[in-house]
Structures are given as structure tokens and as C-alpha cells.
Symmetry: C2
Subunit: 352 residues, 2 copies
Amino acid sequence: MAAKKKPARPITSTAEFARHVGLARTTVSRVLNGQPGLKPKTIERVQRAMDETGFTPNAYAVRLKGKSTATVGICMEDLLTPTAVKKLSALQRAFRMKHYTSLIEVFEPGQSRQLIRHFLSMRVEAIVFIGHFPAEELAQRIDELNAHGTPHVVIDHVDIPSAHRVTVDRARGMIDVVNHLVARGHRSFGLLGISAWLHGKLGRMHGIMQALAAHKLPFAQCARSLDHLHVRRNDFEFGKTLAASFATLPDRPTAYLALNDEIAIGAMHGLQAAGIDIPGEAAVTGFNNQEICAMTRPTLTSVDQQIDETIRVGTEVLLGQIGQPPRTKAILRTIDPKLIIRQSTDFTVAAR
Amino acid sequence: MAAKKKPARPITSTAEFARHVGLARTTVSRVLNGQPGLKPKTIERVQRAMDETGFTPNAYAVRLKGKSTATVGICMEDLLTPTAVKKLSALQRAFRMKHYTSLIEVFEPGQSRQLIRHFLSMRVEAIVFIGHFPAEELAQRIDELNAHGTPHVVIDHVDIPSAHRVTVDRARGMIDVVNHLVARGHRSFGLLGISAWLHGKLGRMHGIMQALAAHKLPFAQCARSLDHLHVRRNDFEFGKTLAASFATLPDRPTAYLALNDEIAIGAMHGLQAAGIDIPGEAAVTGFNNQEICAMTRPTLTSVDQQIDETIRVGTEVLLGQIGQPPRTKAILRTIDPKLIIRQSTDFTVAAR
DNA sequence: CTGAAAGCGCTTACAG
DNA sequence: CTGAAAGCGCTTACAG
């Protein structure tokens, strides 16, 4: 079961190991690399000795010798939301399946140059960015990578024209939300944490405006935001506070569109605390379709990001660049989200 | 702003780079390693050239040459709960502050040997395990690491006697919960997902039994579990289903202790769906004190794991082993959790 | 299968 | 500051 013979000091080189097994360094190397023309008996001998001694060849030496590092760098936003974590997890799994090792690091504003240098010194073959970063700083990093010839992909951050990007079409998601709510008779909308500057034409605000226009509902009169009244935090508490403010309005909206599930859940909490019934007196929608959406009271209508698909396309875009001549044009791939309808919008407002 | 001069092919060695700058290889190396006795002008020259060319020294060569890898391996459970993610994040941050790079990988049952070999081939200086793994397999890995002389720490998994361990005292947490509920008049308890096999004397069940005994409440009569009726999943749905089963009992318990917040929230959902008022007709408690606990209706009483403290102690235990002779005795450090009381238990049952 | 040799990109004395 | 040299642990032809 355990090793028969444990050297006090572990073996650290093939030379030492070869001596231990009684074979030539070359032969050991061949076995380690699965090269042909070796007696099964020799292979077995080496493998048993590896088990017994726990010897592992020094990865730094192996890779120095020109062997591909088979490593990718993953640069994460420093905000571990459930959604971000799911993406990270899916991404690492995808790379593992392709026999790539992932180096995971957190992007800290102002420190990103150093981070990329670390990745490059580790000779990663490609870098993926997940999340939202200061646009100008990220753009600089992308330019450097392009100049350097290191492949990349940016997930969820669409504001960098020179970058290869994969993102869910948030505009599409909000169009679906608005259409759904308009069909339920809603004509007035409270926006919770949603502003125009995010993601441009693929952004939520763009989708809302487009959908309202399609229904001949003037945005200025139908949609309202109170974000400016509170410090933006994108969490439960922020949603709760926003809802409390909306609750005091004499002509408050009948439907509330939140930036994410946390804000939506907080908003439901806040509205209910003010004695407002959901969905009877107010509809609320989230974004991300986290599991918790099925456990709130009422359950929460939300937009699913289709994370698996996003990651599938992301890795495809990334790995497709490795070993290829640099692309002249930046790639942009969008993923269609999916509206999941639950109780929080399950009420039809009577026409006035 | 951008580089003045971008070589078509990036510079890949100090030799090439030194030629580019017009200095000796030795001098460049000195600058890179911040060695004394260099003219400020030379340093500046090298640094500017690095910026311009994007040259980074090959980490594999640097580390081959005997320099410490300053790398630790983090082995995660393949279950990214909010709590697990918080730990991972705190851990990586802690290591970064000590100038260690983290290699993060997922422990897959049956594949762990290979994973550890990968870490060892990367010459990590220590390995931390976070989460719950098959005990026998983990124990084997720990024995191998001990034989190999590589430091380790196991967080949250206390069943491996030969391992250095850091864990929250779950028994203590449940003692606090039971004491709180008994003080509120509860005498009958439903257990949701809690079984005896977990964590031995530091486990939840042990704490519950101990606390009940202290109040002279016979466990067999006061505590009840219906876990066996459903497939264990430790998620919202599991809690909901368990609650539905409890709701049908003629003499159902007045208090419910859940393994985690997800199960507790699911259970509240299930009890409420059966028309049972919380906390008026049933008290519910969770474990982990996730943010969502403050956003449920009613808000959820839960036990906080004190993650930051756990990670602080964990890194202390781990880094304390590096460069030291191996410990003869396994370390076990426990962290005291903290009960956070909220609405879900805020009702005193009348004495009968 | 063995053995001697070159080379990957770095660091580190050592002599100028 | 420069330059030549040794060595880290591996892989890969090459000749036996």
C-alpha cells in the first residue's frame, strides 16, 4: 500500500532517479514521455520506482527545454459573485478537458500590468479575462497582448473594441423582459441599478429603450430610475433601499427591472416591507437566474445568462487563436440569454 | 503611450534582450533581481527597454536555477458553494500578500494522485486542501506528502488524523443553536441534512447531543430526522422536500436545524407552502450565515463560520511548516463560530 | 537499451 | 560595468 522505501530526502532529478532504478537517464526520460520502442518490463520498472519514491520530474526543466507549457492564464474580476464563480469553474473544466493547466489570478486595478507580466513570464499560451474591469486599463493590456502575439479573449466586457470578446446579449435579455411585462399589462417601469453606460448596444439600457419604442411607450415617461439617491453597491441592500425609495412615490411604477438577482431580491424585500404585494401590486425581475430565484417568496422571474454556452464559445475563440497567425479583426460573439418566468411577474395588470 | 518599437517576434531570452539594450547579460540579470551596485541610469535603461519590448524573463529558467518557486497548491472540492468560494478567495489573497503564487486545482475523486504529482512537479512549497473529500483517498495523499516532506493543511475536513487541520468547531455552533432554541421554549427538533458521521467530536451531531443532554432532553425523543426519505442533495430543493415531509407529521417538531443555509431556506419555503408560519409555528436555523440570510422572509438565524479567521489560521499553520523540520504530531486548530440570531427563531413557545 | 553531449534561459561567482 | 564559464534538470539526436 504505502511506499516500501522512502528516502529521507526526496529524489529531485532524473539523474538521481535513473541511478536509483539502475537505468540510463535517457531511458527514464523516454518512459516519462511515453516514447515507443521500450520493453514493457522497463516501463513497469520505472513506473513502480516512481510510485515508491514519489519522484516527479521538475516541470520547470521540462518546459525550459522548449516543450509547450500547455498553460492558460485566467484573469478574474475581484468580485466573486455566484455567476462569476460558475464561469470560472466551467472555464477551468473546459481547459482541463483540453489538457491545459489554468493559472488563475485576480485583476487588481492599477496592478494589471504586473499580472500580465507574470502570466507572460510563465509563458501562458493564452489569456482570458472574465468580468468587468476599468475599460482603459484593460484596453491597454489587450493592446500589449496583441503586440506580443499572445492570444486572448474577454468575456462579459464588450467595451474594448480591439479585444476578442464573448458576451451574453444583455439587450436581448431586457427586450424579452420588457415584452413579457408589457404583455402582462405593465406600462410603467422602475429601473434598479441599470444605467446606460454599460455595454453599449449590447447593454441592458439599450434593450429596454428598444423594446419600449417598439411598443410605442415613450421611455422618458415610462421608465424611472432612483439610483442616484443611493450609493451603488449592486447587492441585496442596494435593492432594498431603492425599493424603499420607490415605495414612497405617489405614482410608483408597477414593474421593476433589476440589474441582477441580488438587487431584485433586495427590492422584493423592500417593497414587501412597505406593504406592497408582489406580484399583485408590483412585478419584479432579476438577472442571472441564480438558484435562489426559485426559493424566494414569490419566486423570481430572471434572465439566464447561458453560462455553459458562453464558456464553450469563449474557449473556442481562445484556443482557436493558438498557433494561428494573429487575427486582423477583433472577434465579437454574442450569446442569447433565456427569460425564465416565475411568480414575481405572474399577474396581469388591468387596463386603465 | 504604446511601445515605440515592437519587434515582430517578441524577445524571449535575456541574451537577446541584453543585446537589444546594449548591455551585458549579467548586468541585465542584476537589474532584474534588484541587486545593489548599479547606476540608476543603467537601471532606468533596462526598465524602459522592458516596457518597450514587453520582455519578461522565462519563469521556468529562473526557477530551474534553484530560486524558490514561491508557489503553493490549493486543492478545492468540486462544489463551488458561496462559502467555499469565499474561502478560496480569502486564501489566495492571503498568499498573494505573502508573495506566494497559488496554483488552484479541483480535487476529482480517483484523480487526486495525479493532481498532487502535478503540484509536486511544479515544486509547490506547500499544499492546502479546502472542502470535503473521500476520507481514505485524502488520507493517502496526506501520507504521501508527509513522506515527501511537503507541508500541507486541510481546512474543514477533520477526519484525517495524520493531517494538519483547521476547522470551525461545528459542534460548538450547534450547541449555541440548541441553547438558543431551548431558551425560546423549544423541546422538539427536526434535523435537516445533519448526520452523525460528519466530523466526529467537532461535528454538528455531537454538539446537538451534548447540548440536549445538558438540558436533560433525551435525544431519541426530542430530535428527529427524515433525511432517509429523500436523496441527499444539500441544496434548496432538498430542504424543501424534507420540510414537506415534516409538515405531514401529526406531532411535528417546533424547531428545525439545517446543515446549511440552502437547506434552511428551502425548508422555510416548504413549511410556508404547507401553511406553517415561521417563526410562530416553527423555528428554522441555517449554517454559514450567507448574505442571503438577511433577505429571506423571515430573515434566517444562522451560524457564521468566521471564514477570515479560519483562513488566517490556515495560512499560519501552512506557512509555519515551510523550511521547518517536519512536525511529529498532527496539528489541529479549531475556530469558534458565531451564532447570528434573526427573525426565523424570534418567537417564544409557550410552556405546556 | 546505454552513454556522452548539446542546449533550453537563467543566475552566480570570478577575473578583468 | 563587462565577459566567459559553470550549472540548474530536463530532452533529444547520435553513436554504440
